[in-house]
């Protein structure tokens, strides 16, 4: 049976290898890491060793050069049994490193991307603030021009990987007004004035999600990422990929939960229909996500497709986990999956923001 485009037979082979890695090396540790509220950095170096960390990045920086392969990874990582672990990996390779790859100078790529893909230097993307969530343009963290660079003051919130990150790809205000025309990105190295603290959460327990403060942090001029005051576009540029990753992850998560449910089976027509409903939800989510992925890969504007894929899969994933709890009770793995899935309709742009984007795309 031919794989559905854009996947090829080679991708399916890779899928098998990644799945074995996830099942043999991550899944057995998931509970321990969830309880520790942390997973070790070895996960990054091990994945780098296997070539999984840089699948989509160019070979000259140590990557594999195949975006589709990275999509396979996102789907398969969802089988690790810990949303926080998948998110922690995704935060580094899926949302923090791509802006450096796309907008960074050669020197920045050598300094952050290359060791990043070796799993030796971990990056996190810092946009959200205590008072700026969906409304990205209202970022208040301020970067003042000084001799040789910037001085940053402010706070970031809900930063996945923010406790461990060596480098924070940070959205800052570089004009007094901020907003769409006044944001920039700085790569901020951990150092004096940067404080991180882990946040307690409903789910994603293995992820070190942080509140971060910047207190008179000096950032050298060469750490400006992209053009000054063009930061808003940089945010928007990776949103599509981030949302695609979330859609792929939700599809993978629903799929593995469904497969495990099938092993437990069940009697009666109501159970059969409930599981058939779930299977239909997954198939719809997968088809709409793969379509968005194909659009994205074609290099065309994929905003409506990606937005739809994200909206269609995130609430669905939570509902699927919830339905499975109704069928099988709140055993720990399902309960965790439900808690982890609940972030889907919030992170990467809330469902309500997705509806705004779609509605406005229709001229409303």
């Amino acid at each position: 049976m031919a794989p559905i485009p854009p996947f090829t037979a080679e991708h399916e082979e890779l899928r098998g290898s990644i799945r074995r890695f996830v099942e043999d090396e991550l899944y057995p540790q998931a509970t321990e890491w969830e309880e520790a509220r942390w997973f070790p950095n070895d996960v990054f170096t091990r994945m780098a060793e296997l070539g999984y960390l840089g699948l989509k990045f160019p070979p000259e920086y140590g990557g594999g050069g195949d975006v589709v392969a990275d999509a396979v990874l996102s789907e398969e990582l969802a089988r690790c049994g810990s949303g926080g672990l998948a998110a922690g990996i995704g935060a580094h390779i899926g949302i923090a490193l791509p802006p450096i790859w796309k907008f960074g100078t050669e020197e920045q790529k050598q300094r952050y991307l290359v060791p990043g893909l070796r799993g030796e230097k971990i990056a996190a993307l810092a946009i959200t603030e205590p008072d700026a969530g969906s409304d990205v343009a209202s970022v208040r963290t301020r970067a003042e021009r000084v001799d040789g660079g910037f001085v940053v003051n402010g706070a970031k919130m809900f930063i996945t990987g923010g406790v461990r990150a060596d480098a924070l790809v940070t959205a800052v205000k570089t004009t007094a007004e901020g907003g769409h025309q006044g944001l920039s990105f700085l790569i901020i190295d951990r150092g004096p004035g940067v404080e991180s603290s882990a946040l307690e959460k409903l789910g994603w327990h293995a992820s070190d999600t942080a509140a971060i403060s910047f207190d008179d942090v000096f950032v050298p001029a060469e750490n400006l990422l992209g053009e000054e005051n063009q930061g808003f576009y940089l945010i928007m540029a990776n949103f599509q990929w981030e949302r695609l990753l979330m859609a792929l992850g939700a599809v993978g998560g629903m799929q593995v939960a469904f497969e495990r449910a099938l092993q437990r089976g069940g009697n009666g027509q109501a159970t059969r229909h409930r599981l058939a409903e779930i299977a239909t939800t997954i198939e719809g989510g997968r088809d709409v996500t793969y379509h968005a992925l194909r659009r994205y890969l074609a290099g065309a504007d994929a905003v409506p497709e990606v937005t739809i894929a994200k909206l269609a899969t995130q609430r669905a994933a939570f509902e699927v986990m919830d339905a499975l709890i109704s069928l099988y009770g709140d055993e720990p793995e399902l309960a965790r999956a439900a808690r982890d899935a609940r972030l889907g309709p919030i992170g990467g742009g809330t469902d309500e923001i997705m509806k705004e984007i779609l509605g406005r795309s229709l001229g409303l």
Binding site: K102, H273, T280, D301, E352, L358, G359
Partner: protein, 396 residues
């Protein structure tokens, strides 16, 4: 892949969004079908809702080659791929006449495929060739007054008598039943053989003993003629057997797959058409001093509908891709049919809601969409049967 800042933030919502299964030829076909439908069919839709649509639609569409798009050229078809059939199912909705779309689909995607797949050369020459020309009209008889979802429970009997069969029984909800020249008829030939006791026949509707009883009144699909048929001692030669004696159940289950997928495509297109009209309405209608579409709750309703329609569309297209690539994706077809039928009804209902009182009025044509779409959760296998098929496909 490199991106510049401007490239990444300029969404092009009007851009070409052709799906990978379609080629430029499909798009040209789409254009020409749409032009025809809007010019020659759509103006009559109100009238046909009252009186059912006339037979000349078949002849005209046969003339234009639209009835055999994916059928072999040797029988007068266009020899296109399965996707051409999808294109027709999608474009015919612009007639704004659900009963018309259904009557055509019964002819092209339900009655013809089993004749082409299981029929003899003589049967194909006798029925498919004129059917593709639109000179003969076909229907399909499965459902009976006492056997709907439970296909195996049909009672229509065909009993061998020398070189002939004698058929007795009745069929109901038969689309095209009044106008059809022939019926693909599901019968029981061996009541003791379980699933191996069914046989299909190709019965001319003018055979003595075929009685076209009343035209059935329906919630929607008013433009289609829906019949209750009786078969009283109808004698047909053994050459009227379609396919193999005893294989009818499996053959009709095969037929239902194509019927469900094309039905799902029609649901997506119907939902999209209702969505488009309602979007236009929301941009014209004002309340409380602004366009109703600019209220956030209305905007979000459209976003939710767009998401459902797109999901259903991708399920249909992906399944069609599987079908075209030689798979027999019964599970995915069932999923696509289930989901598309449901969301078509939900979207139609939401479109009525956005139209308010006007949505409830016949004049705006939105209540008709809801009435027409409602059948899709029942016909060709109910939602519940789809869930059974899907559930059992996993061994549940």
């Amino acid at each position: 892949m490199t991106a510049t800042t401007t490239q990444s933030i300029k969404p092009d919502f009007q851009g070409q969004r052709k799906h990978f299964i379609f080629t430029d030829e499909h798009e040209q076909l789409r254009e020409s079908i749409r032009r025809f439908v809007i010019k020659e069919l759509q103006p009559h839709s109100e009238e046909w809702e009252e009186q059912t649509f006339p037979d000349w639609v078949f002849r005209r569409m046969g003339e234009l080659g639209f009835l055999g798009l994916d059928k072999p050229e040797q029988y007068g078809g266009q020899g296109g791929d399965y996707y051409t059939s999808l294109v027709l199912a999608e474009e015919i909705v612009h007639a704004q006449c659900g009963g018309l779309a259904m009557g055509l689909a019964v002819h092209t995607d339900m009655a013809m495929p089993p004749i082409l797949k299981f029929g003899t050369e003589e049967q194909k020459q006798e029925w498919v060739v004129p059917a593709i020309k639109g000179e003969k009209i076909l229907c399909l008889g499965i459902t009976e007054p006492d056997a709907g979802s439970d296909v195996a429970g049909i009672k229509t009997r065909a009993v061998a008598d020398g070189d002939e069969y004698v058929i007795n029984g009745s069929k109901t909800f038969i689309t095209n039943g009044h106008r059809a020249d022939a019926i693909v008829l599901v019968t029981k030939t061996d009541p003791d053989a379980g699933y191996d006791g069914f046989t299909l026949f190709l019965v001319p509707m003018d055979a003595p003993g075929v009685i076209r009883e009343k035209k059935l009144e329906k919630l929607g699909m008013h433009a289609s003629d829906t019949a209750l048929l009786a078969f009283q001692d109808v004698r047909v030669p053994s050459t009227a057997v379609l396919g193999d004696v005893g294989k009818g159940f499996y053959q009709i289950m095969w037929e239902l797959q194509g019927e469900r997928l094309i039905g799902a495509a029609g649901c997506v297109a119907g939902a999209q058409a209702a969505f488009d009209r309602t979007l236009q309405y929301a941009q014209e209608r004002s309340a409380f001093g602004r366009q109703i579409g600019h209220f956030q709750v209305i905007r979000h309703k459209f976003a939710e509908m767009a998401t459902k329609i797109e999901t259903a569309r991708q399920m249909v297209y992906t399944t069609a891709w599987r079908f075209q690539n030689g798979q027999y994706p019964v599970r995915e077809i069932s999923m696509a049919k289930l989901y598309a039928a449901r969301i078509a009804v939900e979207v139609a209902d939401e479109c009525i809601q956005i139209h308010g009182g006007n949505g409830y009025m016949k004049e705006y044509g939105i209540e008709r969409v809801w009435r027409d779409m409602r059948l899709n959760r029942i016909g060709a296998g109910t939602d519940e049967i789809m869930l059974e098929v899907i559930g059992r496909s996993y061994g549940l």
